[in-house]
Structure formats: C-alpha cells, structure tokens
C-alpha cells in the first residue's frame, strides 16, 4: 500500500501567540514548534497500515525549511521517507492544497492521511480541497478505520454520533482524535531518521484566495465574582445565574 501522510509544523498548544508588527501576521520568534497533534495521529495510522499491509509511508509537508524538523519527527516515528514542498510565505489552504495536489499526482498513492485540521489556522479545509482537486473520494474526521474486500470502511464523527462510510481506494482521509494513539519515536528511530532522505519539491503555485487583513487579540475578560469558598455559596451562585446572568 502506498501511503502518504501530510504533516504541518505548528506552535505547540501551550504557546502564547503574539501578533507581528505588521498587524496581520504571527510573530513566531521564540515559539516552540511541534508536529501538529492531529497530523501525528495520521502518521501513526499510516504506520499501522504499513505494518498490516506492507508498502511505504511518505511524510509530506508544505512550507519553509523549518518544516524539516517536523518531517524528521515523522521519520523518527517510522515513516520511510519525507518530502518538503517548499514555499517561503504563509499560504492559504487553497495554495497548500494545490501544492499537495501536484505532488500526489506524481506518485498516485492508495491512501492519503491528514489530521482533521492543523492547530494553527484551524481551517480544516485542505483534505477536502485536495480530494476535490484530484476527483477522489474523501472521508473527514475519521475515528475508526477497517478494510474488507478491497474496500475501506470508516466511521466519521458527526454531532452526537457517527456515520459509517464505505469507499474504494484511492482515498483521502482526515483523522480525528480517538482513531489511534501516536507512538513515541524510539532512540533507534531517532537515529535512523537522521540518515533518511528529505526530498525537496518546488511547484509554481497560484495566488491566494483568502487574505488576512488584520489580526487582533480576543477581547480580554476581566476576572469575575468569587461567590464563596464552600458549599454555602451555591445558593447565591444559582441566584446569580438565574437572575443576573439569566442563563438558567
């Protein structure tokens, strides 16, 4: 099975995000970057598919040289090779999808795995954009995956439940937490990752379709009222919720 996992390089979840002086980009200096957590699940699922069906896992990232750090992490987890599609500037989802489309057309994978969204810009678009560009089926926010008679059977999350989806390959999948637990790279894996290749690709990419015009911090909330320090405060709390906030 030819497996591709798409990975993004993002500030970690504990990071305090600062706005750059231009007022419309993020100041990434001093931030710690990680392999986006949902993409990590995608890598794990890719490795499990290889262990079960054989084949090859390729980790792909779109962005600047800094993304190689995240590709090394995917290699250390066990991916066979890595590809960096180079772009210098921050891209919108459409441009990232175009870049991936170009690469995927060259290699014709059986399955392409993404995290359900990257935890920086939270667009949750790229997997479906790529699928439509390649005219392939897609299933998003997958929490369970099986194979039977050359078909893939997925459960995807919907509000309050699941949808069971059956499809043929090749297919584009985005994964949700709960599908599998990502492994930690072993020392051997980390050592091996250093000698695995990272191939670089360059494509002519189109203009952005979506442009950020301004960034701002969310309105700061001031700390509210401490109603009390034990059970005796409950009556007053309920009164406030009922009469002042009017939320119950």
């Amino acid at each position: 099975m030819k497996i591709v996992t798409c990975v993004n390089h993002v500030p970690d979840t504990e990071a305090k995000i600062k706005i750059a002086s231009d007022g419309k980009s993020v100041d990434t200096s001093g931030l710690n970057f990680i392999l986006s957590p949902y993409d990590e699940i995608a890598v794990e699922q890719g490795l499990r598919l290889k262990e079960k069906f054989g084949g090859e896992v390729v980790a792909v990232s779109v962005g600047p040289d800094a993304n190689k750090e995240t590709l090394r992490k995917a290699l250390a987890m066990g991916a066979d090779k890595a590809v960096l599609i180079k772009t210098n500037n921050l891209c919108d989802s459409f441009v990232v999808a175009e870049a991936l489309k170009n690469y995927l057309k060259e290699i014709n994978p059986d399955i392409v795995l993404f995290g359900k969204q990257s935890i920086d810009y939270d667009n949750a678009q790229v997997p479906s954009l790529v699928a439509e560009m390649l005219n392939l089926p897609s299933v998003t926010t997958v929490v369970k995956m099986d194979f039977e008679n050359n078909q893939i059977i997925c459960e995807r999350e919907i509000e309050g439940g699941h949808e069971k989806v059956v499809s043929q390959l090749p297919i584009i999948i985005s994964v949700q937490k709960g599908l599998c637990e990502p492994r930690y790279p072993t020392l051997k894996g980390i050592m091996a990752s250093k000698s695995k290749p990272i191939e670089e690709k360059n494509y002519n990419l189109p203009e952005h379709k979506v442009e950020i015009v301004a960034l701002r911090l969310p309105p700061s909330k001031s700390a509210g009222k401490i109603v009390g320090t034990d059970v005796s405060a409950v009556k007053e709390l309920v009164r406030l919720l009922h009469e002042e906030a009017k939320v119950i």
Partner: protein, 324 residues
C-alpha cells in the same frame, strides 16, 4: 447578487444551525442588497422545506431523492455546485458543522471559490465581506477577505443568533439533479446517533470536568447536573488523556471549540489550550479548589472549593429553581 443559504437537515429535521445560517444570510443580504434563497437536500424534505420561511427567506430550493437518505460528500457537492451555478449565487453560507465543514471545501473547488471557515462574524466594509475567524483555537482573532468572485463561508454553530420563527411559509421549488452511481463513491451506509445528551459543539449549556474530579466515577456528578440542565458534558485534555472520558467530549485546542451560553468548569485549572477552546462562552462558572487557578481569570462567577462537594449541592439547588 444572490446568496445561497445551505439549510442543513438530518433525518427530516432542520438543525438549529440551519436557522442560524438563514438568519445570517438575510442580515448579509440587507447590507449587500442581495437576494437570499435556501437550499435543502435529503430524502422526504419537500414537506419541511417551506418551514424555513419562518426565518425570513421567501424562496427554498429542495432536492428530494430517496438515495439522499444519508449525507453523501460527493453527491451533495455536485448538487450544491450545480444549483449555485444555475442560480449564479455569488455567496454561499454553510454551518461549520460536521456536514458543512466536509462539504464546503469541495463545493468551493467546483465553483473556483475561496472559503473562509468557522467564521464568528460577517460584516460588509466598502462592499467587501469581511469575515472574522478565530485562529490558534481562539488565542488570536483574524479578519479575512475572500478575493475570488464567488465566496464561501462556514459559520460556527451557536455564535450567529437565529431569528425567531414567524410561522411564514417559503415558496418551495423542487429541483431535479442527475446523479449517477459514481456520485456516491464514498457511501454512508449507517448513522449512529446517541439519543442522550447534546454534543458539546451544539449544546447551549456545557458542564465540564477536569483532573480535579479525581476519578472517572466522579463524573456521574457532572452528568447529573448536565441532565438537570439539558446540558452537554465536556472534559479537559487531562481527563481525556487519563482515559476518564471519551475523546469526543474534549474541549480545547486539540478538542472542540465551544461557545455555549453557560460553561460550568469543574475541577479544571484552565491550561491555555483549554481556555482557548471555551473562552468565547457567554457565561463561565468555575469551581476549583485552587484560588490561583487561571480559570478564575476568565470566569464570570467562581466558587473556590472542591467540585466533588459543590456539585451535588449545585444540582439540588438548580433542580429546585427549575421546579424539577
């Protein structure tokens, strides 16, 4: 100019987000001087389609077919794109629901349109639609514009207020779209929906627990309060990672982003990644033993105390006030 409002239904019932999307479309049309029509897709939907008129839209297009009993990514994509092209819609609005988030990107590609997802506000400035969308799970707020002629937006559930239903019926046009087997390449064969509590992304009240709940069995205190309030149950990453609660309840940067009217955080200290996912809740109550816990910095009301002691009393008191 025309605006297409995608009115989501499941099992023959409109989702609350359908009313939110239609109301947002009407508000946008007033600013742009545009016409709005709603689109309903499914099996046996012609009957309910006119009900959307109660939210101010006069015209509904219904695509009603037996093979659309379940949502289908590719079939729905084809239908929405064809209707949008025929009608020359320039703006398309969807809910940022599991269906809308799955569908909108594919429709956008078919229409050569840009997509701004999970928006929390839309406004018109100098003729441009400026969409507000939280990024980094709400740590930063962005304003974006779409540069293509056709523009697609998905709207975060629970943020746009639905108008009140005035009981008017809309004019329904049943439209036929040719679909073949190939349009159902990935096929939904079954939908399993629990009949229990609302999902955290849809709930107007959430009762959420963290490490301070101390053990998985103590979450029954959270569930009891949630059931009295008709609320959804949420959990912090710590509670989910410990295996106390299922993944689909996790609130925060690597879980769900929520905006309920009331969020009750029990034994949750308020790590930055959790706060990012829930700080846009309209009213926040924090119950935590540690008076210095960051959650109190954003809470509207707090009790410094042990959630395990406070919760039973809170449930009892709320039951009383609700007359249950």
């Amino acid at each position: 100019m025309k605006i297409l409002a995608f009115a989501e239904q499941r099992e023959g019932k409109f989702k609350k987000t359908a009313y939110e999307v239609v109301t947002a479309a009407i508000e946008l049309s007033n600013q742009l001087g545009a016409e709005v029509f709603a689109l309903v897709i499914g099996k046996n939907v012609s009957g309910i389609a006119s009900d959307i008129g109660g939210f101010g839209v006069n015209r509904v297009i219904a695509v009603d077919r037996d093979d659309l009993e379940y949502y289908s990514t590719t079939a729905y994509t084809k239908i929405v794109a064809e209707i949008a092209s025929r009608e020359k819609a320039e703006v398309l609005l969807f809910a940022a629901s599991q269906m809308g988030k799955d569908l909108a990107p594919r429709v956008a590609i078919k229409l050569d349109a840009g997509l701004a997802s999970d928006c929390t506000a839309l406004k018109v400035e100098n003729g441009n639609i400026v969409a507000t969308r939280p990024i980094f799970a709400g740590k930063i707020i962005s304003d974006v514009i779409i540069k293509s002629n056709i523009k697609v937006f998905t709207l975060r559930p629970n943020v746009f207020t639905a108008g009140s239903n005035n009981g008017q019926k809309a004019q329904v046009e049943n439209v036929t779209i040719n679909l073949s087997e190939g349009d159902f390449i990935a096929r939904v064969v079954e939908t399993k929906v629990g009949v229990g509590r609302p999902d955290v992304t849809e709930a107007s009240i959430i009762v959420s627990g963290g490490r301070g709940m101390k053990a998985p069995e103590n979450f029954k205190l959270i569930e009891e309060l949630a059931d009295v309030l008709g609320a959804g149950v949420g959990a912090s990453r710590a509670a989910v990672d410990a295996g106390w609660r299922p993944h689909d309840e996790q609130v925060g940067q690597t879980g769900k982003t929520v905006s309920p009217n009331l969020y009750i955080a029990c034994g949750i200290s308020g790590a930055i990644q959790h706060l990012a996912g829930m700080s846009s809740s309209k009213c926040i109550v924090a119950i935590n033993k540690d008076k210095d816990a960051p959650i109190f910095q954003i809470a509207d009301y707090g009790i410094v105390g042990d959630a395990l002691e406070i919760l039973p009393e809170l449930t009892k008191e709320i039951k009383m006030i609700l007359g249950k």
